[in-house]
């Protein structure tokens, strides 16, 4: 492993630990009611602190660093994006949705606390994602509004994407429908994570539109790759049941165009994303390394 890649891993570990401790700090600070019967905070912490790659916060920290944003200013955005992600996982895992029992190698929230409390924990986490940015005293109001506007748009798109995903189960759909679904369900939040880093420095214009396109490309690539990994990787490595999409009759890239073509598709998307990075006004080496790492990921 060369020095740069070693540094990248160390930096990612640092970002991951940083967002983990920020999330723990924030969720612990939520004023608890005196009533001992209230457990919403515990339920949120159960899901939020269970681990996970923290891929979206790592992207936010990485991009913010490219644009010279002090790391203390990035924490609330990194947490917000992860809180939305965690809420979506809790709701997606529900029996009436994807019906998953295991997430991050532990029973899903509804298996432990019941469906009603799991739904409410998701609802609460979404509200807190907006709150943490609102209450960050280090960020200027005008910039906060840009961040919150993007967050709300992305969070809405994610719900719409999941709605489309459920509505096309057992249906024959073309790639356009699948692309649109992925763009909303997974892409919107990745797009938000990446653009957060630039918006924090009030970046607009060309750099922002390059990051927009870059994130859409890696977002779709990531999802096509997920479809591929879903049919080629073991349970133990994925931390969830193998082949879960095809078991549920969900349309997927491999199901429509086969595994080999799907691999070619996501590799081309990653390549396009790489090419876009060279157009940025800042040195994007850390993003290039992340993109390369994603291309080669095995889980």
């Amino acid at each position: 492993m060369n020095i740069m890649k070693k540094n990248l891993l160390e930096t990612h570990d640092y970002y991951r630990e940083r967002v983990n401790s920020q999330l723990e700090l924030y969720l612990s600070s939520i004023s608890s009611t005196k009533s001992s019967s209230n457990q919403l905070k515990d339920i949120m912490k159960y899901s939020a602190l269970a681990g996970g790659k923290r891929f979206r916060p790592i992207l936010t920290y990485t991009v913010a660093n490219l644009f010279d944003v002090e790391i203390e200013k990035v924490d609330s955005c990194a947490c917000a994006i992860e809180l939305i992600h965690i809420y979506s996982l809790i709701h997606d895992d529900l029996p009436v949705m994807d019906d998953d029992d295991i997430r991050h190698n532990q029973p899903t929230s509804h298996k432990v606390f019941g469906e009603a409390q799991a739904i409410l924990a998701g609802d609460g986490l979404q509200a807190l994602a907006f709150q943490i940015i609102c209450n960050d005293s280090l960020i200027d109001s005008a910039i906060k509004i840009k961040l919150l506007s993007l967050l709300s748009t992305s969070s809405y798109a994610m719900a719409e994407g999941q709605s489309i995903d459920l509505s096309i189960v057992s249906q024959k759909v073309d790639l356009k429908v699948l692309d649109n679904m992925h763009k909303k369900k997974t892409g919107a939040l990745l797009n938000c994570a990446i653009k957060f880093g630039a918006l924090l420095n009030n970046t607009s214009g060309k750099d922002l539109s390059i990051l927009d396109s870059f994130s859409n490309n890696i977002g779709l690539a990531y999802q096509v790759q997920d479809d591929v990994l879903d049919v080629t990787t073991s349970d133990e490595v994925l931390g969830k049941r193998q082949n879960s999409d095809s078991i549920k009759n969900k349309p997927s890239y491999p199901a429509i165009i086969g595994v080999e073509e799907s691999i070619k598709t996501f590799e081309a998307l990653y390549q396009e994303a790489m090419n876009e990075l060279s157009l940025l006004s800042v040195d994007a080496e850390p993003l290039r390394l992340i993109t390369e790492k994603l291309m080669r990921r095995s889980y």
Copy 2:
């Protein structure tokens, strides 16, 4: 009926129609995906435009008017508060929560579209509540942040209140637990609706703290009264099944202290709220009339 009360009803009708048309306009403007299979927008509109008293938006318009805020500046806040309310009704009505089949004299969202899509419609509505304020070009950024901060805090408290409500089913609880539950489940959003009107004019200090206390009092009064009406009013008038709380073994004021004491309690809370209004720096007659009207409501 005297002139003032006639004017009040006409003003409320105007506010109700105004928020109805603003909600319709806003939800229709959500960019729809090309995919014909996506119906999230339709599901949200089904619940959002089904009617309802629009009590919270009426409060926001009323308070904003007391503080001389131009009505065009109030629309996004009025919609936001109602979007949160509607999302909460959709989730509360789910089989794993309160299991209600009828709302506003029509089948509940999950009865028509299925539970998964109903959950997602609620999720989407919560995101849109934040979006509509973020994107309002008439409001200053610093004020928007105050509004969004209060909205997120109130929305979180509401989820927590519902979590407590579900956790105390079939339990013996004291009034303190019940008060805390109501304060969060119903009170927080009423508090937000009322303070929105003042925050829009950047009001702070004494007036804001009077409104804070006033709204907490009418919020709790309203809920105790709801408990009373729940056991004394017919289905047809309520638009939902009568006696639904006691059927579900939910602790209620009448169950703990009896109907008569419950009536005394909510009347005293309304009276305290009335007294507080005279301390405001502005003429609060419209709020006094609303409070009187609430005291005498029969559904």
